[in-house]
Symmetry: C7
């Protein structure tokens, strides 16, 4: 069985894409996380309604994340 946190561990230093509760999408390199699924991304790009914005390093509160997709 693949525990959800295992997928995060295997995705370290790889790019993942996230769907947030507020409808925004983020894509970035996962460099860290904790047990609450709070995440740290680097080289992050945000997409909202077709518009892209570079954000660099981002700390994300886990309770705002709906889906995490490793690339």
């Amino acid at each position: 069985m693949v525990l959800p946190l295992n997928v995060l561990e295997k995705s370290l230093n790889k790019r993942i894409s996230l769907m947030l509760k507020d409808g925004r999408s983020l894509e970035g390199k996962l460099v860290g996380y904790d047990d609450f699924m709070n995440l740290v991304l680097e080289e992050t790009e945000e997409t909202k309604e077709e518009q892209m914005k570079k954000l660099g390093t981002v700390v994300l509160r886990g309770n705002n994340v709906v889906t995490i997709v490793p690339k």
Copy 2:
């Protein structure tokens, strides 16, 4: 009695479909879960307003899931 987590255990490596709080539907092969009903799906397909998108591996936060339907 069938505990909810038992259904997940029996559904391992089988396809399930999910209804999320934000109205999206996901279908994929369940490959893992934890006690919070965070889920790991593979070969996932997302459907929203009649449009389908292939997502591959997906980690899902349990608190965004409304219903889980084993196929």
Copy 3:
């Protein structure tokens, strides 16, 4: 006094109907539950805006349930 979980226990293998937070109604045979009122239904039918859909076995997260009505 009738504890809420007692009602679930007595409803095992009987049909119940559920009202969910997102406005959907489900009706099915209750085959299991846990302390968080996560539920397992079988032979489930979903109704939304007058449309009915057969779902079979369904695992329901308790925090999405508003009311449980034994039939």
Copy 4:
């Protein structure tokens, strides 16, 4: 001082009316509750936008209840 759970205890086998978060009103005989204020009602009637519906026995998740009014 009157603890909130005391009011529920005194209301056992009496009719109460409830206002839910989703705007529905329920009225029924309180036959049980637990520490989370999950409730069991019997001979329940639901009112929504002037329409009344008989529901019989209902288990209610406490976190959907806004106000409880003993009759």
Copy 5:
């Protein structure tokens, strides 16, 4: 320092007014509360969009309360 629960204690048997998350206002005599700020009011009056309704005794779930104003 005045702890929030101290204000409730001092307000026992006095009238308070409440603003709820769903936009309703309640005014009544505070006769009890618990550590979760669940409240018991008596001689309660509800106001919503300029309309007043007498409710009598009311048990209020604390997580629906935004502000408590002693009169």
Copy 6:
């Protein structure tokens, strides 16, 4: 490092302004708080859509507060 509760401690008996989740703003003298950031204000003024209302003493549930700004 300045812990969030330290800021509240230093703000005791001083005026603070609050932004609530429901869009209301409150300004008042902070006279108390607890570990959940439930707050007690005195000489409170509420502002909503340009309209000001005097509220006097107010107990605020911490989970409705977005930002606290010491004056």
Copy 7:
């Protein structure tokens, strides 16, 4: 691995920008935080629908924060 709280620790006394659940953006110097990701900012500026407002010191409840971006 970079834990989310490590990023906050390294960002102490540096400017960060925040996206809140209610759509507001804040930018300020991070001077403190706690385990719940409650934050203390100084020299804070709020942006909402293209309008900027200076707020000075701000205490932020962590559960209102979606993303934290160190500058």
